[in-house]
């Protein structure tokens, strides 16, 4: 893998071009690049820069009314806004719960699947089903299952398993409303990580385990000393990707709780979206979005520095 480490260190364009960047090549490469670069600059880069600009304004959505430059006011407002802080907390908590949840369960599923022969493909397909199903559909499905008092989950807990006395109002209370969202995030993501882990496990030669067997190593020992170190690059990749994905959480919150009750389950991006498109606070929304983007990018860089082993740096 090492794509993550590669791009930090290694200059791109190691490709040997025999003729050098001669006059004949420049127009050719231009034709290959032009459509992509055009779309990329207009629809990706420009909006990002524009968001940065808007974040310093009390942005007027009516073109005839001038927008007022307010400096860092929107950022100051975000830092002081209790709902924004709560939304940030909810976002981080979502990440801290769903990332380890997905990693552990996906790794367990991959290890188990890798050790069986019959039914492997069939079981893998079942675990992968939530991955290929749209967020909209599974979010509505979880909303339906966690309804109270007569939803499927309450029925299971109260009437079948007898774990609780009376139905839980999952989505009515701020303290429980994020639980369906967390479970959804884990449930939907397991298959994705599992498939990647499975592929990495299959590259480990069986002889290593045979040698460990001869040495009398137990299963736990083999896992810690052989399996995990050998799939380390894959683990790092999956962890970094899942953390980025977790901090970007939007749809499951928007569709399961929509930030409710009383904005207590907002995450940063749903709060940003509500500010922008419900209250037309484009300046404030852009500041929120930008702070989140900076947070995600810095965190990813820190992780890459932290996870990379000394020999991977050069």
């Amino acid at each position: 893998m090492d794509f993550l480490s590669r791009w930090v260190n290694k200059p791109v364009g190691m490709g040997v071009v025999k003729k050098g960047p001669g006059s004949r090549q420049l127009p050719i490469v231009f034709v290959f690049l032009l459509p992509g670069i055009f779309l990329f600059l207009v629809f990706n880069i420009y909006p990002l820069l524009k968001a940065f600009q808007i974040s310093f304004y009390d942005w007027s959505i009516v073109p005839t009314n001038p927008s007022t430059f307010v400096g860092l006011d929107n950022y100051a407002q975000a830092l002081a806004d209790p709902i924004a802080r709560l939304a940030f907390r909810n976002t981080v908590l979502y990440t801290m719960i769903t990332v380890p949840g997905q990693i552990v369960l996906a790794l367990a599923a991959a290890l188990l699947l890798n050790s069986i022969v019959r039914g492997k493909v069939f079981l893998r397909t079942l675990y992968y089903l939530p991955v290929i199903t749209s967020w909209v559909i599974v979010s509505l499905l979880f909303r339906y299952m966690f309804q109270s008092p007569n939803g499927f989950i309450n029925y299971l807990l109260v009437n079948v398993l007898h774990l609780v006395e009376s139905p839980i109002g999952w989505l009515q209370s701020a303290s429980t409303a994020m639980i369906p969202v967390w479970l959804l995030g884990i449930w939907k993501g397991i298959g994705w990580s599992m498939v990647i882990f499975l592929a990495a496990l299959q590259t480990i030669p069986a002889e290593i385990y045979e040698a460990a067997d001869i040495d009398g190593a137990g299963n736990f020992h083999k896992l810690m000393r052989i399996t995990l170190p050998l799939i380390r690059p894959t683990l790092v990749f999956v962890v970094v990707m899942l953390i980025i994905g977790g901090l970007n959480v939007f749809l499951p919150v928007a569709l399961v709780t929509n930030g409710g009750p009383l904005q207590q389950t907002e995450v940063v991006l749903t709060y940003m979206y509500h500010q922008a498109f419900d209250f037309l606070e484009f300046g404030y929304g852009s500041a929120l979005a930008f702070m989140m983007a900076i947070f995600i990018v810095s965190l990813s860089f820190i992780q890459l520095r932290f996870f990379r082993q000394p020999e991977e740096i050069f």
């Binding site: 490709g15 071009v17 690049l33 992509g36 779309l39 629809f43 499905l141 894959t234």
Partner: protein, 279 residues
């Protein structure tokens, strides 16, 4: 992991037990969805809930398919997803080839911005994208959606394909160059045909993303006749008294193309993903 023949029976049994238990948790929500879609008047929540409907009916499917403009939404989704995939894969393949094979000014900074956008979610730019779409007259237009979909999928697709193209043997290209072929011939006759597995993977994941895309479509489209399926399904979930049977019948109809695709092309779903990491 290494298995000792002596304990294999019990250990294997245990493994299957856990795996099947996990699989049940993965699948039960879907069974529940299917079951609800066969129940009439599912907004009256029955208690206790029954997994097997007492009087199964196809009415929800008929209603979902025929009422309102569901067929229009289905067609819109098809148009947007298919055209976007073709354009996205072609354009990102071209860009990836340029990155894999040429030197050009600004290459480093361009590649770095692509990688940066892999981390930053598209929704960060949703406000200016909305303003841009409005200014360019691209709101309420499937063409507008297509442009934004293609653009937002470029960073990942380009990155994945570049990794694959770099593994292609350069000698073949050199031989073709010596024979007088130009880079377009090489690209269309050699690079693309040799990259079929990678192109298939990129196409599948792009298609999945476009078929399910919600935020841009929600933000850009007001005109009911331009809606795509995810918006339509979410709008079935009304504020008051959602008819869940209808919601899930519509959801299942929307899932059919994706599940069919997955069953037929399953190997590309996994092969490509892992190839990308090795990249």
């Amino acid at each position: 992991m290494g298995q000792k023949t002596s304990s294999m029976g019990a250990a294997t049994m245990f493994r299957y037990l856990i795996l099947i238990g996990g699989a049940i948790i993965m699948v039960v929500p879907f069974l529940w969805m299917v079951s609800t879609s066969f129940k009439e008047y599912a907004y009256v929540i029955e208690f206790p809930p029954k997994l097997i409907p007492e009087a199964p009916t196809l009415n929800n499917f008929v209603e979902a398919w025929t009422t309102g403009q569901f067929q229009v939404y289905f067609k819109n989704s098809m148009i947007v997803a298919v055209i976007s995939v073709v354009l996205a894969v072609l354009i990102s393949a071209m860009m990836a080839y340029a990155f894999a094979r040429f030197r050009f000014p600004g290459k480093e900074i361009l590649f770095f911005s692509i990688l940066l956008l892999l981390m930053v979610p598209n929704i960060i730019g949703i406000i200016p994208q909305f303003l841009l779409a409005k200014a360019l007259g691209l709101r309420n237009s499937l063409f507008g959606l297509i442009l934004f979909y293609v653009a937002t999928s470029l960073p990942l697709n380009t990155f994945l394909l570049r990794g694959f193209f770099e593994t292609l043997p350069r000698e073949l290209e050199d031989a073709m160059l010596i024979d007088g072929a130009n880079y377009f011939t090489i690209f269309t006759r050699m690079v693309l045909p040799l990259s079929k597995p990678a192109l298939a993977t990129v196409s599948i994941f792009s298609l999945l993303g476009f078929w399910d895309e919600y935020i841009l479509a929600l933000t850009f489209i007001d005109d009911q006749t331009k809606r795509t399926l995810p918006i339509a399904i979410a709008s079935f979930h009304g504020q008051h008294g959602t008819d869940w049977g209808l919601v899930f019948a519509a959801s299942l109809i929307a899932m059919i193309p994706i599940v069919a695709l997955y069953i037929v092309l399953q190997r590309y779903f996994t092969a490509g993903l892992t190839g990308a990491i090795k990249g």
